[in-house]
Symmetry: C2
Subunit: 141 residues, 2 copies
């Protein structure tokens, strides 16, 4: 495996830019979030505010878990709950000039990691797919 400086290159060269990343607003209800997840086919997406700052992630497991009753899934609660109450706020972030190797470490336990600037403005996401594709390209010269 000759990776040379590949793992030292910047995260910014490999991210999906923010304009191509599906997201929801912090004030949306869970019904809206589930509709966006269903229409895009993604299982988890970032939660942003109106100024494009990152606040957390929302995912289909999180939504389903919060509407799960004793006997059945209580779908009627979807419009009563808000993304802000349910989202995961304990998420790692990267900066565009971090080395890719820092991204690799975080991707071990996270399917994707959000990139933000110094003012917490959302810049895009680094995904496992992109890193695996790059790693595969390096080992198969």
């Amino acid at each position: 495996l000759q990776a040379g400086n590949f793992l030292q290159s910047s995260v910014g060269n490999f991210i999906i830019p923010s304009e191509r990343v599906a997201h929801v607003q912090i004030g949306n209800n869970l019904e809206h979030a589930l509709l966006v997840l269903t229409k895009t086919g993604y299982t988890a997406i970032p939660v942003l505010d109106a100024k494009y700052q990152l606040h957390g992630l929302i995912s289909s497991p999180l939504i389903l878990d919060n509407i799960m009753g004793m006997e059945r899934i209580e779908f009627e609660n979807l419009s009563k709950l808000c993304v802000e109450d349910v989202m995961n706020q304990e998420i790692p972030t990267l900066h565009a000039n971090d080395p890719l190797v820092d991204g690799l470490k975080l991707l071990i336990n996270h399917p994707f990691v959000c990139t933000v600037d110094e003012n917490k403005y959302f810049k895009g996401i680094l995904t496992r797919r992109v890193v695996l594709k790059q790693l595969n390209a390096y080992i198969q010269p």
Copy 2:
């Protein structure tokens, strides 16, 4: 990156064994499948038959997509539809003695890949997390 023979080691050394993998039966309805996904927190799991042979994968995006109406998500259809009608059957598989590098290639586009034996009996799954964890261990001696 010195990987030596790591990528030539067998997939079988790295898989989550079948007894630890959440799955559904091919005859289950979508309501049951959604309950299993919700309780385990996984977004996709294998579909097996009573003899433990692999038939496909079921996921929260696939289920939600199939109950999506024009205006709203039609949850009442969950008990009417069956896993067999909705599951993804176009899935790659691996054998336990395949080299890990073959798994890496498939994991670029699949969050996990099922391992089967020569009679199609389900043996376990190779996940992106395990491969990323191993790759990271190799590059950080």
